[in-house]
């Protein structure tokens, strides 16, 4: 239970179905971990308190699992290091992989619980033919969270419920209101939980060191300016780069080896191919031959047609039918067959 309305209503729905439910919140970071002053109210503690109120209201047991050490190791440090290496990581995916569906599930099992449930907007179904669990998008594409869940294993899928996966936010909120849950009208969480102000660059600078300035060049190597540290830019970015040129320029890539920011024209930020590592597939274990499907390279992006080809070492190559805009290393590429999530991996 995050303290948000989705997981809270999930509890209510499971109770209505007759499940024996207990609630738990993951304690993921301290103010020290995120560089916030100790005197400042920790939003994470308030969220825990909200979850506690909901648990009390619904009459269930409630626990806090402290995974701050692992969160720092697997999520915060990974986020900072990836950014420093010029990648654009997605910490929610890492958190799901290492915390929510690993430590949390493991801890729940230790305590004798069979399954866990989350407030994600996805659904699952069992495929009798293959004997595998399948993951599906939420019917509400705007809310769909399947992108951050592609790494789920069969064991994790089998033991996870998504009670609100097919619902709309409005109906979830009205259930919360009917049950007088404290967070019925709480705004949806935005951005990355451990960077509440959304200023990634500042967070990374605070967690490491002041980034070095370097050259801004065009794809042909022509120097056209100076950047204030690569972490301040994202691939595909156009505004706020601070160079003037006769046509709009976009960030094509960040070269961490020589600390160069490479800009190009609109055409140059499109590419039709990418390589992904740490690949997971859901309807089958391994990809043995090229697969025609669609893919998303960012959260809440329209999926595009592509062919996924297995490479040695568990990697895959993805070839898009149409050139694809601003593919960023570190983000996930997630494969779909209609509403079904086929799997995904990390773009390298």
């Amino acid at each position: 239970m995050s303290g948000g309305v989705d997981s809270s209503v999930s509890v209510k729905l499971l109770l209505d179905k007759g499940y024996d439910v207990s609630g738990a919140t993951m304690h993921l970071y301290t103010n020290d971990d995120i560089g916030a002053a100790k005197t400042k109210t920790c939003c994470s503690l308030n969220d825990t308190e909200d979850a506690r109120y909901v648990a009390m209201k619904l009459g269930i047991e409630f626990y806090v699992f402290n995974f701050a050490a692992d969160f720092k190791k697997y999520v915060i440090d990974h986020f900072v290091n990836s950014y420093l290496r010029g990648f654009t990581p997605n910490p929610c995916i890492e958190c799901n992989k290492h915390l929510k569906f690993d430590r949390f599930l493991q801890r729940s099992r230790e305590l004798g619980f069979e399954d866990i449930a989350t407030g994600h907007y996805v659904t699952k179904e069992f495929d009798e033919k293959s004997g595998r669990w399948l993951l599906k998008r939420s019917p509400d594409r705007k809310k769909d969270q399947s992108y951050v869940l592609y790494a789920l294993t069969q064991d994790q899928l089998a033991h996870t419920h998504f009670p609100v996966g097919e619902m709309t936010k409005d109906s979830i909120r009205s259930i919360a209101e009917e049950n007088e849950l404290i967070n019925a009208n709480k705004p949806d969480s935005q951005d990355i939980c451990f960077i509440p102000d959304g200023d990634y660059a500042k967070f990374i600078i605070n967690s490491s060191k002041e980034p070095e300035h370097g050259e801004i060049v065009l794809t042909d190597g022509t120097k056209i300016g100076e950047h204030i540290g690569l972490i301040n830019y994202t691939v595909g970015q156009r505004k706020g780069i601070g160079v003037s040129y006769f046509e709009p320029l976009y960030v094509v890539r960040k070269e961490t080896d020589n600390n160069r920011l490479v800009l190009g024209t609109k055409d140059e930020i499109f590419s039709s191919t990418l390589i992904a590592d740490d690949v997971n597939f859901i309807p089958f274990d391994k990809l043995t031959e090229p697969l025609e499907c669609t893919a998303q390279t960012r959260y809440h992006q329209k999926d595009s047609e592509c062919i996924v080809t297995p490479l040695p070492g568990g990697k895959v190559r993805v070839d898009f039918k149409e050139p694809h805009k601003a593919i960023s290393k570190g983000q996930a590429v997630v494969f779909y067959d209609g509403e079904y999530v086929l799997g995904g991996g990390t773009i390298i």
Partner: protein
């Protein structure tokens, strides 16, 4: 077997005693007068406070004018440290010595003073949990204004050599404060014999209600006021007195200072029975020395298991124990106390603290050892850290 409820977290808080409750009740009901009032209803309240002050003073070997009632141990610690810092600063002495295993009430007060320009020495402890007096002697400087060392540790129960520390501090003319929140009722305390200048006690650790405690401050010190307002607590801690809880606290202090050795012998017997009952659990560490330790404290680490999971499993069995590093939102960091003993982060995260008192029984400890064995076995059977092969 019927589920047995066992409370074994007496270092966190204790059950209020009948004597303390009886002492409080009149002032929660008919005797509601303000202790500052002139009429007889008020005077009754004032008398209750006077009596409690006598009881508290006697329990510590102090005089009544040396007892200041507070909201508890944390307030007393904050007051003592800030007061001594203020007195030190006036003499241009801005160095304070404390230990690395103090309670957060002390450590956080120190951190705040550090930000105001005070210098701190955090004395290390031996791997079995003791501050060394010679380390302290070496750390005392010309500009040292305060030494604050706890009488007994809240996580591992080790009893610090406060009489020796007091002697040294007196010789060096440095003020000595001790947080005796855990020690009270477990060891005999005499502030004069032990050369203690300031001392903190909490009510709810000795069978009084939560929200009351006291600071002892030697009459030789011109204690700065902590809360401004009326004349209560000789103008140093203003605000209408919590008569009922102060009355309960006085009673609890009297009880705590009586029969210490008999109580300690009984509780230590339970502790030894518990430890014996855990025989056969592999890779289990008892953290901190078993000698010079609060009689009811057992602090254990189990390889391959996190304390947090173990505590919840035990809770499901009706047993209340805690991890060393407890906090409002569950345990936050690996215990700073266990880290100070040189334990690894994993060990420090895997600790469980069982604190018995005279209300526990042999049946209780047998139940704890049995359930603990089962829980450890179960958790190890599902632990990825434990070799189940």
């Amino acid at each position: 077997m019927e589920k047995r409820f066992v409370y074994a977290d007496n270092a966190a808080t204790t059950r209020i005693s009948k004597a303390a409750l009886d002492a409080a009740m009149p002032y929660l009901t008919e005797q509601f007068g303000n202790a500052s009032a002139v009429y007889s209803l008020g005077r009754k309240s004032r008398e209750a406070i006077l009596k409690a002050r006598q009881q508290a003073a006697k329990a510590l070997g102090a005089e009544v004018y040396e007892i200041y009632f507070t909201s508890g141990g944390t307030e007393a610690d904050n007051w003592a440290i800030n007061a001594c810092a203020q007195l030190g600063e006036a003499k241009n002495k801005k160095h304070i010595i404390t230990s690395s295993i103090e309670h957060y009430a002390v450590l956080e007060s120190c951190k705040a003073l550090e930000r105001q320009g005070f210098e701190f020495t955090y004395l290390p402890v031996s791997d079995d949990g003791f501050v060394s007096v010679s380390d302290l002697e070496a750390a005392i400087r010309e500009d040292t204004c305060l030494v604050s060392i706890m009488a007994a540790n809240n996580e591992i129960g080790t009893i610090q050599p406060i009489a020796d520390i007091g002697k040294l501090c007196r010789k060096k003319s440095v003020l000595f404060h001790t947080d005796a929140v855990q020690a009270m009722g477990n060891i005999a305390i005499d502030v004069n014999e032990m050369n203690i200048d300031l001392l903190s006690v909490s009510g709810h650790k000795i069978h009084a209600p939560k929200g009351v405690g006291c600071l002892y401050c030697s009459k030789s010190i011109d204690l700065p006021s902590f809360i401004k307002g009326g004349h209560q607590e000789r103008g140093k801690r203003a605000g209408t007195e919590n008569t009922a809880f102060i009355a309960a606290f006085g009673e609890a202090m009297e009880q705590a200072s009586k029969g210490i050795s008999e109580r300690a012998a009984f509780v230590k017997g339970l502790r030894d029975r518990l430890i014996k009952g855990l025989d056969g659990i592999e890779k289990m560490d008892i953290n901190g020395s078993l000698d010079n330790r609060l009689p009811g404290n057992v602090n254990l680490s189990f390889y391959g298991i996190e304390g947090e999971g173990l505590i919840i499993v035990l809770d499901m069995q009706g047993i209340c124990v805690s991890s060393g590093a407890a906090c409002a939102s569950g345990s936050l960091e690996p215990s700073h106390v266990l880290l100070a003993l040189g334990k690894s982060e994993t060990q420090a995260q895997g600790s469980v603290r069982i604190t018995l008192n005279e209300e526990n029984t042999e049946e209780d400890v047998d139940c704890i050892s049995q359930k603990l064995k089962e829980a450890v076995e179960h958790l190890r059977s599902v632990s990825p850290l434990w070799d189940n092969g």
